[in-house]
């Protein structure tokens, strides 16, 4: 029955090679095979965004991608965005502005926000709300998430300006 194949992924800069069934969902590959338990499983029908990772430069819901589709891809999870000694601005900003409560949506939320700010470094509040609409949070009511992202954008822009 098993039709396992060898797949290769680059996850947070590290190359991974493993044997898996093509039907394995990328979220399970990341969480169970590769130990990246930051992205979570919330709805399983591509509505909630808790499983969001960056795949070849795009924000995707990894519960709705087969590992076979991702073969050869470069993936960034929340674990690859920053580390304890060098946090991503968004990681600091969510803490500073109380942009999380239970923390379950947070990895997907921050991963998505990082891509949003890459594409639109200076978003309006409405653009943040629209750009984050693929991620559901049950705790915060979004107000402080939006605040966190806008603050991070301002900080990143200020840092860029200072560097220039």
């Amino acid at each position: 029955m098993s039709n396992k194949k060898v797949f290769k992924l680059t996850v947070n800069g590290e190359e991974q090679e493993f044997l898996a069934e093509p039907r394995e969902l990328l979220i399970h590959t990341l969480r169970e095979r590769l130990g990246k338990t930051g992205p979570h499983i919330g709805c399983e029908t591509s509505h909630c965004g808790a499983c969001t990772v960056t795949l070849n430069g795009k924000s995707v819901k990894s519960c709705t991608v087969f590992v076979a589709q991702a073969d050869g891809a470069e993936i960034t999870t929340i674990e690859g965005l920053g580390n304890p000694d060098n946090l991503h601005v968004l990681q600091e900003s969510f803490k500073e502005h109380h942009g999380l409560q239970c923390g379950f949506c947070t990895p997907g939320m921050i991963t998505r926000a990082s891509k949003l700010l890459e594409e639109n470094p200076n978003p309006t509040e409405q653009e943040v709300r629209f750009g984050m609409a693929g991620n559901i949070c049950r705790c915060t009511g979004y107000q402080n998430i939006v605040k966190s992202i806008l603050a991070a954008a301002a900080e990143m822009n200020a840092a860029k300006e200072a560097a220039e």
Binding site: P22, E44, G49, K61, T64, F66, A133, G134
Partner: protein, 284 residues
């Protein structure tokens, strides 16, 4: 929600795709962005023993605008449609509609081809393609053929495409005049309660051309020729708009679901079409 096992194919060219389709017939399906098919597979409502991933197939991606002709490869994503300046200039209604589909993550994966070929009456692109009078390009074992979007849809998930054919591209003429894509939905990520695609051309005060299509109000998208005809030759006075809406109501056949009963959907369709016409007219 775990899908059943399947054989996975990732061919590099169309010949490779067709050989699997010919060999396995009904048991094979092509996969574009996967955001319609994969949830159905996870719910085990779609069984796909042979899954053909189109991502590496040459020539299925990209947007070209050649003179008046716009061609969009089937594997082009909604996100690419939103961000293509040439396309926005040639047919701004495409961007307006794409922004109302699903959510950002899904738009990175969801493709034009998947959206139009699946035959899901909830998808937005089929109605839009009918409004644009687009042509669908299909490839099968017997070669290429073209089908008008307005002739393509037969019933929910039933189209003119044969099981061993692949939709490779859509093409249409660049638009002139005013446009609007209006969609009522319950929330981001939802299908339309009612949606309307409208293209209008004005000469002086008179409407010289009108194209109107509706989404998720029948088991197929509805191109309402009569609705458009009701506007042509008028200056879009109230009577003309009402006549167009009445004509549209004669063409749609909504069903009851969680979005509401039939009577509501007909009313919502009227309101959404009125908005779309008004908006499109203001942009002529």
């Amino acid at each position: 929600m775990i899908p059943a096992a399947f054989e996975y194919y990732r061919p590099k060219d169309m010949a490779g795709v067709l050989s699997v389709l010919v060999e396995h017939g009904d048991d094979a399906r092509v996969l574009a962005g996967g955001h319609s098919l994969i949830p159905m597979m996870k719910l085990r409502m779609a069984e796909v023993p042979h899954l053909i991933d189109l991502q590496d197939v040459e020539g299925l991606r990209g947007i070209s605008v050649d003179g008046n002709t716009v061609r969009i490869g089937a594997m082009t994503t909604q996100n690419e449609i939103i961000n293509d300046d040439q396309l926005v200039a040639a047919a701004p209604i495409m961007r307006e509609a794409a922004l109302q589909i699903a959510d950002p993550q899904v738009r990175y994966m969801g493709t034009v081809g998947g959206n139009v070929a699946n035959g899901d009456p909830g998808n937005d692109m089929p109605g839009l393609m009918q409004c644009l009078d687009a042509t669908f390009h299909l490839v099968g074992p017997d070669g290429e053929r073209e089908v008008a979007a307005r002739d393509f849809y037969e019933a929910a998930y039933m189209t003119d495409r044969d099981d061993d054919e692949v939709l490779t591209a859509v093409s249409f003429s660049s638009t002139v005049g005013g446009y609007a894509y209006e969609k009522q939905k319950r929330k981001i990520g939802d299908y339309a309660t009612a949606a309307a695609a409208v293209l209008l051309v004005k000469d002086g005060d008179t409407c010289t051309s009108a194209s109107i299509a509706m989404t998720n109000l029948s088991d197929t998208p509805i191109y309402s020729e009569a609705a458009g005809a009701a506007l042509v030759g008028t200056s879009l006075d109230d009577a003309a708009v009402s006549a167009a809406i009445d004509a549209m109501l004669g063409d749609i056949d909504p069903t009851q679901d969680n979005r509401g009963p039939i009577e509501f959907k007909r009313h919502a369709a009227s309101t959404i079409l009125r908005r779309a016409i008004t908006n499109a007219w203001s942009r002529t």
